[in-house]
Amino acid sequence: MEIVGEINSSTALWYISRATGVVALLLMTAVLLLGLLVSRQGKLPGLPKFAVTGLHRNLSLIAVAFVGLHVLTAVTDGYVNIPLLSAVVPLSSPYERLWLALGAVSLDLTLAIAVTSLVRNRLRRKTWKAVHWLAYLSWPVAWLHSYGSASDLRGGWLFLLALADLLAVVVAVGWRLAAAARDVPRAERVGLIMTAVHQRGRSR
């Protein structure tokens, strides 16, 4: 990384913004993977069953906090000019207009998911679920925002990290789809159990 000048408070904020951005992306990835596990009612080895939903929820709050830090430090640093509004309004930043737009889109979706989840009891099930599904859109947009707006991610070990990240999500989503395809259709369930228990009775 070339030295662009002395490190002062404003460049410090800029570095913190990039660092929290990377952490936020990793946390979002973990939240997505945990979400996939929740949807298949999986269990984390060594942990009780309730830990899956608990971790998914708690990590998502921490992830949002890191995104918040990432946004605030990027806006308040003097190194580049990013208005606060462009964190949620796409295409309104003079700096890296397109890549930041992606970030804004991802943040908007994330906020929608977070808020609807916090007031889940007052919403209709279908509404909550529909918004929650936007996570599958929010994550790739966040990844693209990260890749496009941070040159750090395009080389070195951060690049490998970003790639491993992407791969993990692709594999996990693939696993989830394959598992769902293997599910016994509702109409066939009772027939299967009938055959199994009636045979078991006869073989005794």
Partner: protein
Amino acid sequence: MTPAVTTDVPRLLPRDGERIQNWRAHSAKFGRIPYRNAAGSLINDIEASGLTGRGGAAFPTYRKLAAVLEASVRKRVRPTVIANGAESEPASEKDATLLWLAPHLVLDGLQLAAEAVGAESAVLYTHAHRAGDVGARLREAIADRFDDHVAVRLAIAPPRFLAGQETALISHLDGGPAIPRFPFPRVTEQGLDGDPTLVQNAETLAHLALIARFGPGWFREIGTRREPGSFLATVRRADGRPRIMELPLGTPVPEVIGGLGQVTALLIGGYHGTWVPVARAAKLRLDNESLSSVGASVGAGILAALPGDRCGLVESARILRYLALESAGQCGPCLNGLPRMSAALTALARGRAPRGTRADLERWAGLVTGRGACHHPDGTARFVASALRTFAAELDRHGRGQCGATNAAPFLPVPQSAARTEEDWL
């Protein structure tokens, strides 16, 4: 085509068993539909009459009407009314017979119920296997009418045991499979298309049509004080042939079954009903007050007498196998419990059951009760428990490798084809 019809009480069914030829003949006999020209105004008469649902649950009809009207006013939407003629109980034929012989009574009731709750659309839901004859007749009847305020759509239920269940019916009419839904909020609040929905058994609507004409006092002239009026029963005596009878509530059982000498037990209430030993049954009357003393209820009016030469355990095992296969498979306890109960009762009926089979069966019956989204597991468990009690002596014999029956032929009607794919539920 139709089973024999006998009635000393010619209210719903024509005394001679002859069908009313057309709408004109119907109007000549009963008069035109007595519309009240006000939503809700019929409900007081229905309350005074004491009419309860004839589909099995015996829920006070006026309360359902009032609930749908109230919900539709509060939510500012139009409700829908549905005449439930699905009759998915294999041993029941009273609704099909009613729709065949007197469709206009049911259709009148549907119009009056629609007016009472302010509905603008109505559906008449019938069974797939009767779509050919009864369905064609209903289409004819609907086209024949001049008096209707609300258009009636005819819909066909898939041949599933659960197709006539209230939420399964709505699920099907909403375009999906006929499988039950979680019953909250209730369909009177949120049913077809999310609107308040009135689901009423076809026979109930026919009674409603007559009460609207002749008044609640007339309805109460027969029956008992707590359970007034008449009801349609599908009766199988020892000869196995189904007869449809219109009876006052409270009729003593021997008057209906007759020839109790050759009978070992009675099945009261259909396949979710109760087996009762004949000696006990002979002292009962056909009303819920009397039947509740043996844990039974009138239900949808199905009564069957098991002849002495048949084995009650074998019959029950055949029925239980059918009931298990007809599970929607949505709820864990029902999906897991009913097949295991079926295998256990089959083993007990075969006489080669390992030790503990009966205990397992009783445990599973207890485990499934009240733990599904509908009452299929409860009704099935009640049926099984009554079989174990009523045929206790037979169970002992089977335990020793013997059986008291001499006739292995099936007695009660049980459909052979099971549902295999999603299409079978549509």
